[in-house]
């Protein structure tokens, strides 16, 4: 108990810990100011207790309090630390040209994504679609939609080719990324992809995203009577033959 009490003065950013405080626990509880992402460990004290708490656990903010598990070594981390950020953090050494990428692309990518990134069948298009984002049927491709070339590098490296993910070398990944960017004319034929040039690529839709999330963005009311007039059916699924059977065995009949 002494350990717990000692740690308690730093304790409990979670609102749920308040339940303990409310029943007179020795564990001091402080809710987080959940507005600021960086503030979780600097929560302010509050006497307020939440009535809607369900599960409570004390926080033990002293690192290593439990002592379970092993220290992750630098070598272990290096093998799994594959995330890449838009500023280039995480990109490994290596390089690849558009031409090298073209050859690799034909071998590893074209069967699904098409020779020119047009997409085979219903597999994703990689190129084209620029200027279509306000259309009735927008085409969201690497060229028209993706905001960061680093995301492309990360995804190709960790998840492609679809049938053999995380099998490309760093150089191969740089080359394929160079080729895919070139398919959308984002980089010239002479482009050499590396850890410096990829984060510097300005993608066409780089400024096409915004936050924070503005929802709730609809403002329906709790009207109870005579809420609307002229109600009519404008669309029905009846007769469209798009719905697989929902009884018996799995229905395989409505493939694309």
């Amino acid at each position: 108990m002494s350990k717990v009490t000692r740690s308690g003065k730093f304790a409990a950013a979670t609102a749920v810990a308040l339940a303990l405080a409310a029943v007179g626990s020795a564990w001091a509880a402080t809710p987080s100011t959940n507005a600021d992402a960086s503030n979780g460990s600097k929560a302010q004290a509050s006497a307020g207790a939440s009535a809607s708490t369900v599960v409570s656990l004390p926080r033990h903010p002293r690192p290593g309090y439990f002592g379970y598990g092993a220290k992750a070594t630098a070598k272990e981390i290096a093998g799994w630390d594959i995330d890449i950020r838009p500023d280039g953090k995480g990109l490994p050494p290596g390089h690849g040209t558009v031409q090298q990428g073209g050859n690799l692309y034909q071998k590893h990518c074209a069967s699904c994504h098409g020779t020119f990134g047009e997409g085979e069948g219903r597999y994703p298009k990689l190129a084209g679609g620029q200027g279509t984002l306000t259309d009735q049927r927008p085409e969201k491709t690497v060229g028209s939609y993706w905001p960061y070339a680093t995301t492309l590098w990360s995804y190709v490296h960790k998840a492609m080719p679809f049938y053999a993910p995380e099998s490309l070398t760093n150089d191969q990944t740089y080359a394929i990324v160079a080729y895919v960017l070139n398919l959308s004319n984002i980089v010239p034929n002479s482009f050499v992809a590396n850890a410096k040039t990829i984060p510097a690529v300005k993608m066409p839709n780089r400024d096409g995203f915004y936050r924070p999330d503005p929802r709730p963005d609809t403002h329906n009311t709790m009207c109870m009577h005579h809420c609307r007039t002229h109600v009519k059916v404008t669309s029905s699924a009846q007769g469209k033959n798009l719905t697989p059977r929902t009884t018996g065995k799995l229905d395989e009949s409505l493939a694309h």
């Binding site: 503030n39 033990h60 680093t150 998840a159 029905s236 697989p244 009949s253």
Partner: protein
Amino acid sequence: MGRRGDNPDGEFLSDLHDAAEELPSAERRSFLRKGLASAGSVLLGGAAAGLTGPAEAAQGGSDAKYLPPNVPPWTRRLGAQVVSRPYGKPSKYESGVIRRNVPWLTVDRETSVSFTPLQDLHGTITPNGLVFERYHAGRPTIDPSKHRLMIHGLVKRPLLLTMDELMRFPSVSVIHFLECPANGGMEWRGAQLNSVQFTHGMVSCCEWTGVRLSTLLDEVGLKTDAAWLLAEGADGAAMARSIPLHKGLDDCIVVYGQNGEALRPEQGFPVRLIVPGWEGNVNVKWLRRIKVGDKPWFTREETSKYTDLMPSGLAREFTWVMGTKSVITSPCPEKPLKNGKGLYEISGLAWTGRGKIKRVDVSLDGGVNWRTAQLQEPVRDKALTRFRIEWRWDGGPALLQSRAVDDSGDVQPTLQQLRAVRGTSSIYHNTSIQTWQVKPDGSVYDVQLGYKG
């Protein structure tokens, strides 16, 4: 009909074989021998008594022998043994209650979805075998003894945990819904799918057991500029999402238990993240790595996917919270009104990622007039809530709707209201009020409405 006179039908033999299939081969042979011997003696008895045949059929069809005043055959013989099904499964009469997919929706089944049969579920908990699936590179088969959870980045003690070590930490159990933000995504432009399973079945609700993420983050010790987390899966997609630290410290859980047993492979065995109230894909399955950083990563699944394209051509990013939503699950296209006019119970599910459902109203006339439904208590935070209301159907046409309100005051929108703000190309977060058209023959269809007001 005499007690010895029943003719055991083919069903008994079929049951016998079903039960035998689940036994080791030696026991199976013995079991079948005994079972057939007993069936044979009853058969002979029945024939000798001369009480089966056309006379029985004349009494009211083939079901009559099961119904009072007769005593059904299953009451008059031994049933299957314990552990004839060492891991239980639903009755064979429920074999059609399964996850289903829409073959035309995705190009393959490795990066695809399946839907929960909401029309056949009772209460609010989704059975483990029926929780909807969403894979980005197929479902990996992971040996838990060879799985590790790595926590590193802006931490004082980077950690590598085995499953046994993870399970030593203090645990919690919570009930939360899980919904894919693309649930309803096929209905933005018009009514397409005549089925509640396909219009709303990418939502499920389970009791999850695991370790609070805050416990693990305390254990590794956050550095001062820590502000974001990356959660990454061990699947072929290495599916990864950025999560603000405040959410991670608030209520996220690293879970290994689902409805009382180990997490199912479909839901991330041996371990996944649960991010209560947030879109399904953030609840990373097959969790292998949590990295602490100071900025988001902008992974593929938070840029090219799971961003919401608006009519302006700009897209919203990091739209994590699942909005206020509800749907009537009975009646629905799969559950028509089979008994003519009369009294029915309308029943459905409501949920919100912001907190608790406060109220659900039901309309029978396409939203002109509403009545407030009863909510099944307890109403849980970020969990499916069952609502019910009585309806005396006069046999005429009806347009059924449900409208949920959450405890933040958010009222579930109509599709018109959603389209007015978001157009029809945003794919995700279609929380619109669903309309079921009831026809005089009792059949039910997925429709969309126009109206004034």
